[in-house]
C-alpha cells in the first residue's frame, strides 16, 4: 500500500460511520480509531506541503511502517523553497517582516532567503496568524526546511 492509497483509505474511513477499522496484509497492519475528543489531526505530515487543517472527527492513524511527524493543531508549515540564508527583516537595521502573533494576508512577505546575493522574498500563501518562527536571523536553511508555523485565519 503506498502513501497515496493510505491517505485515500484514511479519508474514506473518516467520512464513514465506522468507529474502528483494522486492515492486515502481509508485512503491513493498519488500525484506525475515530477519536471524538481529539482537537486536531495526527497523521503523516509530508515535509514539503502545508499540513492540512484538521477536521474535528479526524481519526488517529497508526501505520504499520514509518514514523508520523504530527503536524498538530491545525497549523500550516511554511517551508523554504530554496537553499540560502534566512533573514527576518528587509535590511539589518529594519524591523522584522513579522513577529509571533502577527496577522498576515495572502501574498504578504514573511522573510527573505538570500541565495547567491539574490534576496528572495518568501510570501504567505494564506491569510493567517504567525504562531511560531523556527529560523533565526542569518541562519542557513535548506530546501524544504520549515521556517514558520501559521494558523489559518
Amino acid at each position: 500500500m503506498d502513501h497515496k492509497d493510505l491517505r485515500e483509505l484514511i479519508d474514506l474511513i473518516s467520512k464513514s460511520n465506522f468507529a474502528t477499522f483494522e486492515l492486515e496484509r502481509e508485512g503491513f497492519r493498519l488500525k484506525l480509531v475515530k477519536n471524538e475528543a481529539a482537537s486536531g489531526s495526527q497523521g503523516v505530515a509530508p515535509r514539503l506541503e502545508p499540513a492540512a487543517p484538521a477536521a474535528p472527527k479526524a481519526p488517529d492513524a497508526a501505520a504499520g511502517a514509518g514514523d508520523a511527524a504530527p503536524a498538530g493543531n491545525g497549523l500550516v508549515d511554511v517551508a523554504s523553497p530554496i537553499v540560502g540564508t534566512f533573514y527576518e527583516a528587509p535590511s539589518p537595521d529594519a524591523a522584522p517582516f513579522v513577529t509571533v502573533g502577527a496577522a498576515v494576508r495572502k501574498g504578504q512577505v514573511l522573510c527573505i532567503v538570500e541565495a547567491m546575493k539574490l534576496m528572495n522574498e518568501i510570501e504567505s500563501e494564506i491569510d493567517a496568524e504567525v504562531v511560531e518562527i523556527l529560523a533565526s536571523n542569518g541562519q542557513p536553511v535548506e530546501f524544504g526546511e520549515i521556517l514558520f508555523k501559521l494558523r489559518p485565519a
Binding site: I82, V83, M116, F143
Partner: protein
C-alpha cells in the same frame, strides 16, 4: 589544501569523492534532492544540504541551489563528479565567480571540448587523427549529402552538443539521409537544447579504446594507459577493462602519444579522457571527456593510483604526485556496471532493495551507494553499483568477476547481473574478440536456465 569540499552529485560517485576527501582530511558537504534524503552519500558526509525536489533540473542541475549550498556551508571547492553539471562550462564559471574552486579543467576547455564538431577541428589542427567527416556542422540535408558523397557511406550523424549516444543516426545509404537528418536534429534539440549536428564516417564494429590523462598547473601532463569500453548497449558502456587485448606495446605507444598531444593542445588541467575508435591498427579521435569517468576504477586497479585524490590535489594547485615513469600497469582489471533494470528487456526497475550482499575477497572492489532497505528512486539513472575485478592475468580477472557476480545478492529489484554473467562467460569475450557490435548478438535467453550458482 581545501578544508571543505561540496560534492555536486549523488550515488556511488558522491560516496567515492567522500572517501578521497576523508583520506585527505577534508570535510565534506553532500547535497541531495528530497528523494535522496536517506542516501548513503548524505549519511556519510560531514554535512548535508537538501537542495530541491526530486527532478534533476530542480536539484542536481540547479546551479544556484548548489552554489547556495556551498555558500551557506563555507565549502571552498566543488567536485562535480560525472554527469549532471560536470561538463557544464557555465557551472564551472559561476563556481569561480563565486570565489570557489571547480575541481576540473578550465571552463573554456570544457566549452571547447564540449562542442564536438569544434573538438574535432582542434584535434585535426593538432595533428591527432580524426575520422573522415564534415568540417564543422552540417546545416541541412544537402550539406550532409555533399559530405557523405565525399567520405562514402555508411555515415554517422552526431549531435554537436551531445553525448551518451543520443542525437546519433547511422545512415547506410543516400535514400535514408533526409529522414535521418530530421530525426537526429530533433533528438539533439530536445536532449541538448541545440539541434546542431555534424557527420563522421561510420565504422562497422570498431573497438572503443580511451586513454586516461592527468594534467596539473605546473605544466605536467601524464597518461595512465587505456581502457577498452567496447561492450556497450545503445552507446551506454556496460563492461570496461584494462589493458585492451587489441593493443600491443607499439600501438599503445602511438595512441598514448596521440592522447598526450590532444591534451596538450588545450593545455589540459585535471582529469580527462581521450576517446578513440580503433579499426585494425588505425585509430581515430572521437571525443574528449573533460571530467572523471564512471569507469575510472579500472585504471585505479591496474595502476594502484587514486584518481580522485589527484583531482583534488591538482585543483588545490599541487603538482601530480607521480611522474610518467612511476605509472606502471600491473595485471588486468575488468569492471561490470550493475543497473537496476530487467536483464532481458532493459526496462528500468526502481524500488526498495530488501537483501543486499556485496562480493569481496581478493581482487574484488565494489563501488556502490546502495544498501539493504535502500530505495532506488525512479528519477535518476539506473546504475546502482560497479563491480571491479583485478587479477594477475586477464584470465584470473575473469574468474574473479564470475565469482563476484555469482555472490552479488540483490533482492527486491531486478538487476542486469544475469546479463553481465552471460557476457563474462561468453567465449568471444574470453578470447578478447570484442567490438562495439558485441552486445547485438545477445538476445533474451531461452526458457532453459543458464547454469549459475546463487542469485
Amino acid at each position: 589544501m581545501f578544508r571543505k569540499i561540496l560534492i555536486a552529485n549523488r550515488g556511488e560517485i558522491a560516496l567515492r569523492i567522500i572517501w578521497a576527501c576523508r583520506e585527505l582530511g577534508i570535510r565534506t558537504v553532500a547535497v541531495h534532492s528530497t528523494a535522496d534524503s536517506d542516501s548513503l552519500h548524505v549519511k556519510f558526509a560531514d554535512e548535508e544540504v537538501c537542495i530541491g525536489p526530486p527532478h534533476n533540473k530542480d536539484s542536481y542541475l540547479n546551479v544556484s541551489a548548489v552554489i547556495s549550498a556551498a555558500e551557506i556551508t563555507g565549502a571552498e571547492a566543488i567536485h562535480p563528479g560525472y554527469g549532471f553539471l560536470a561538463e557544464s562550462a557555465h557551472f564551472a564559471e559561476v563556481t569561480r565567480e563565486c570565489g570557489l574552486t571547480f575541481i576540473g579543467p578550465d571552463p573554456d576547455v570544457i566549452r571547447k571540448m564540449g562542442e564536438k564538431a569544434q573538438a574535432r577541428r582542434t584535434m585535426q589542427v593538432a595533428g591527432v587523427p580524426i575520422l573522415p567527416g564534415s568540417d564543422g556542422l552540417v546545416a541541412d540535408t544537402d550539406a550532409a549529402r555533399a559530405v557523405a558523397d565525399e567520405i562514402g557511406y555508411p555515415v554517422l550523424i552526431k549531435a554537436a552538443a551531445g553525448g551518451g549516444g543520443r542525437g546519433m543516426r547511422v545512415v547506410e545509404r543516400e535514400a535514408d539521409l533526409e529522414s535521418a537528418m530530421g530525426s537526429a536534429r530533433a533528438e539533439a534539440g530536445s536532449s541538448f537544447g541545440v539541434a546542431d549536428v555534424y557527420l563522421e564516417k561510420f565504422l562497422a564494429n570498431p573497438r572503443h579504446v580511451e586513454f586516461q590523462v592527468l594534467g596539473d598547473t605546473h605544466g605536467n601532463l601524464v597518461h595512465l594507459f587505456e581502457r577498452e569500453c567496447s561492450i556497450q548497449r545503445r552507446h551506454q558502456k556496460l563492461v570496461e577493462e584494462s589493458p585492451s587485448t587489441a593493443l600491443d606495446d607499439a600501438l599503445r605507444g602511438r595512441m598514448a602519444d596521440a592522447a598526450l598531444v590532444a591534451a596538450k593542445a588545450v593545455n589540459y588541467v585535471n582529469a580527462g579522457t581521450i576517446e578513440f575508435l580503433l579499426s585494425g591498427d588505425e585509430f581515430f579521435f572521437i571525443e574528449m571527456n573533460t571530467r572523471i569517468q564512471v569507469e575510472h576504477p579500472v585504471t585505479e586497479m591496474v595502476t594502484g593510483l587514486d584518481l580522485i585524490k589527484e583531482q583534488i590535489r591538482i585543483a588545490a594547485g599541487e603538482p601530480i604526485s607521480f611522474t610518467q615513469q612511476d605509472i606502471v600497469s600491473r595485471g588486468h582489471a575488468i569492471e561490470c556496471r550493475i543497473n537496476a533494470e530487467d536483464p532481458d528487456t532493459h526496462v528500468p526497475c526502481p524500488g526498495r532493495i530488501h537483501a543486499f550482499h556485496l562480493p569481496g575477497g581478493p581482487g574484488v572492489r565494489v563501488d556502490t551507494a546502495c544498501y539493504a532497505e535502500a530505495v532506488v528512486p525512479p528519477y535518476y539513472d539506473s546504475m546502482i553499483a560497479k563491480v571491479i575485478a583485478h587479477g594477475n592475468t586477464r584470465g584470473e580477472a575473469i574468474l574473479r568477476m564470475r565469482r563476484a557476480l555469482e555472490s552479488f545478492v540483490v533482492e527486491g529489484i531486478k538487476t542486469n547481473v544475469p546479463l553481465q554473467q552471460r557476457i563474462v562467460a561468453d567465449e568471444d569475450f574470453v578470447r578478447g574478440r570484442i567490438s562495439t557490435g558485441f552486445l547485438d548478438r545477445f538476445r533474451p535467453p531461452a526458457k532453459k536456465a543458464i547454469a549459475t550458482t546463487g542469485s
